[in-house]
Amino acid sequence: MKILFFGSLREQLGTGELELRLPDHVQTVSDLVSTLKQRGEQWQQGLGQGQFLCAINQVMTVDTASLSDNDELALFPPVTGG
């Protein structure tokens, strides 16, 4: 699956895009975020602090939503356009 990061979160993590196979034990966005946090201190910090929003296949959703391997998941801070 594809995971995208935007704004301050992208900067904190040092990457805007990640391609990975969805691990077997991962069912929801929140499960995946827990797995990502294990990638190192930067990830632990970036995903551990503050509030961020998520979208699956470009539709806003909640972190209890289920994921499948062909999804595009995006994680980002609250939006500030306009």
């Binding site: 995208l4 995006a74 500030t80 356009g81």
Partner: protein, 152 residues
């Protein structure tokens, strides 16, 4: 009719206005809002970096405009939002709505701006003269304004 552009280039308010004006003979009024880059922090601003989520941003703006068309009797909706590096005084966003009567075009225009600010995936980073950068944080006052439009 809805027209959405997310672009690096600047836009010409006069041209956008003329296009809406020419589009329909039954148009009795046009409301236009433009948002600008302002420099109000203590630390002088050199630029504003605007990031978006290609694909989702356009869909989000399209959905907001479609909701406005459903809620108010308006004719055309035009949204232009810039991305990339902007300078103080630059234009960021244009929302223009045409229709038969002013009440509907005012409301639709304000609705679109309020929803855009709280749901369209854009992120702003301010870069100051001393080289420091700061990601703009979402405001609760914007959330409150957007909530006013929620229907029961």
């Amino acid at each position: 009719m809805i027209s959405i552009s997310v672009q690096r280039e600047d836009f010409d308010v006069g041209e956008e206005y003329q296009r809406l004006k020419a589009d329909c003979r039954t148009v009795g009024g046009i409301a236009l809002f433009t948002g600008l880059v302002r420099d109000i922090t203590g630390n002088p601003l050199t630029s504003l970096q605007l990031e978006h989520y290609p694909g989702m941003t356009e869909k989000s703006l399209q959905a907001t405009a479609a909701e406005a068309l459903q809620r108010w009797p308006v004719a055309d909706i035009r949204i232009v939002h810039r991305i990339g590096e902007l300078k103080p005084g630059d234009q960021i966003v244009l929302v223009a709505v045409s229709g038969e009567h002013r009440a509907a075009v005012f409301s639709a225009c304000e609705f679109i701006m309020d929803i855009l600010k709280t749901s369209a995936p854009f992120w702003k980073k301010e870069v100051y003269r001393d080289g420091e950068g700061h990601w703009v944080e979402a405001k609760t006052s914007d959330q409150q304004r957007a909530r006013r439009w929620q229907q029961d």
